[in-house]
């Protein structure tokens, strides 16, 4: 483990994984663009390993087991590549981590700032992706 600027980075072959989650980590803007082009419904949480972000990752890990029609991913807020989210018009005025994006058919359908709970995220998934939360396994 290398500690750089307060974040833990785990060396993974030639890549640096910045977030310790069981979710797919997007490492470049191109990778995000490809994901939202290839998947109808995408939820991406852009944050750090901090107290406002970890609970959102945790509930996304549960949701990804239940919602196979939605692609769930995370992106490191401090990566220069995350500018694609940080500078998105939908994030104007956001002043709380994480920035969570919901993409529908390649476009931003919704964006939220700061911590969200399961009820709030589930409501957005229902509203934007016409789905409902399934029971925990």
């Amino acid at each position: 483990m290398h500690k750089i600027q307060g974040n833990n980075y785990t060396l993974k072959k030639d890549k640096m994984k910045m977030l310790h989650t069981d979710l797919q980590e997007i490492e470049s803007a191109a990778e995000l663009e490809k994901m939202i082009a290839e998947n109808e419904n995408v939820m991406v949480c852009c944050g750090r390993m901090g107290p406002m972000c970890i609970p959102v990752y945790d509930l996304m890990e549960e949701l990804q087991e239940e919602h196979t029609n939605i692609k769930f991913a995370v992106m490191a807020f401090d990566s220069p590549e995350a500018g694609i989210i940080r500078n998105d018009e939908a994030c104007r005025g956001f002043m709380g981590l994480p920035f969570t994006m919901y993409y529908k058919n390649g476009k931003v359908a919704r964006a939220t700032s700061s911590i969200q709970n399961m009820q709030q995220v589930s409501a957005i998934l229902d509203e934007q992706f016409s789905t409902s939360t399934v029971e925990n396994a």
Binding site: G6, N8, H20, R48, M49, G50, P51, M52, C53, I54, P55, D58, L59, E62, G93, F94, M95, G96, L97, T112, S113, S114, I115, N117, M118, Q119, E135, N136
Partner: protein
């Protein structure tokens, strides 16, 4: 509703106390279920650096919680998180817990470890401007307020320490506290008092937040005079302490005036077969290590109760 599932022990809460109780109970071959309303790890995951957990070198709360969760699952403990409990029936020999989605679980014993949560102000505009000017984490969001003016609400160690930390980014930090003196340790108060970027407004409380998509103003009441003023502000950081997650347990187990569960030295509550552990109980010191200790005792006591 699906058939009710029966366990030896149901643990409510997946923080340090709950996970420890899960590890001990499942390792004792008791069928064990953890029901957790939030993210696994509880308040532990809010700790960026843990340097004093015996036997473990420098770590963080998330990694420690992940290891505890893995240990519990490897011993056979079942864990369900991010759910909402609708009701408890803890009085009889068989305890029942019903979730809002209709699932129902039963057990011969229950360990209550629901932990606590940051106290919000519950005033108009708070939910609306969360993430758009209102924050509960200076480390997370301080940089968004670089060169700006912010208010810190609270008078404990967290409030004063975070106020000092925020001066790295903010141009001016005003600490608003409801009393005429602080509850924080003297060294934390001194650090704040000698910081030229920090001002203090005592005996005052915020009454509302307003803005136009992002926070612009707060209204502030001076408590002795009742006079309310409006103040332009870029951000508000709230560190108003923690409250135990025991609202749904009121009237079932005995609580003190702070709504903390009363337990004896074996972590027994006022109800037979019901134990409690962690930040939800009445105690003086709240550390990961003390939560782990509580969880261990509660689990061993529950096992003894089940044998008797």
């Amino acid at each position: 509703m699906s058939a009710e599932e029966m366990f030896d022990v149901i643990i409510v809460g997946g923080g340090a106390a709950g996970l420890t109780a899960g590890i001990y109970s499942s390792r004792a071959r008791l069928s064990t279920l953890i029901l957790n309303e939030g993210a696994i790890g509880g308040q532990m995951v809010l700790t960026e650096e843990i340097a004093n957990y015996p036997g473990v070198e420098l770590t963080n709360g998330y990694l420690l919680a992940s290891t505890m969760k893995k240990q519990a699952k490897e011993f056979g403990c079942r864990i369900k998180s991010n759910l909402k409990i609708k009701s408890y029936d803890l009085a009889g020999d068989i305890k029942h817990i019903i979730l809002e989605d209709g699932r129902e679980f039963s057990s011969r014993s229950v360990i209550l470890a629901p932990g606590g949560r940051p106290r919000s102000l519950q005033i108009p505009g708070e939910e609306q401007y969360k993430g758009s000017g209102i924050s509960y984490c200076a480390t997370c969001d301080g940089e968004f307020f670089t060169g700006k003016e912010v208010i810190v609400v609270g008078g404990g160690n967290s409030a004063l320490e975070e106020a000092v930390a925020l001066t790295t980014h903010a141009e001016k930090v005003t600490i608003v506290h409801q009393f005429d003196q602080f509850q924080a340790f003297q060294h934390a108060v001194e650090q704040a008092e000698k910081n030229p970027k920090i001002d203090f407004i005592l005996e005052s409380e915020l009454r509302s937040f307003s803005g136009n998509g992002v926070l612009k103003e707060v209204s502030l009441e001076h408590l002795p005079s009742g006079q309310t003023t409006v103040r332009k502000i870029d951000g508000v950081f709230i560190f108003a302490g923690y409250i135990p997650n025991t609202a749904e347990l009121e009237g079932m187990v005995k609580l003190n005036e702070r709504k903390e569960i009363l337990v004896d030295e074996d972590m027994k509550t006022s109800l037979p077969g019901v134990f409690a552990a962690g930040d939800c109980i009445q105690k003086k010191y709240r550390q990961v290590t003390t939560a782990v200790s509580d969880g261990t005792i509660a689990s061993l006591s529950a096992a003894e109760y089940l044998r008797s």
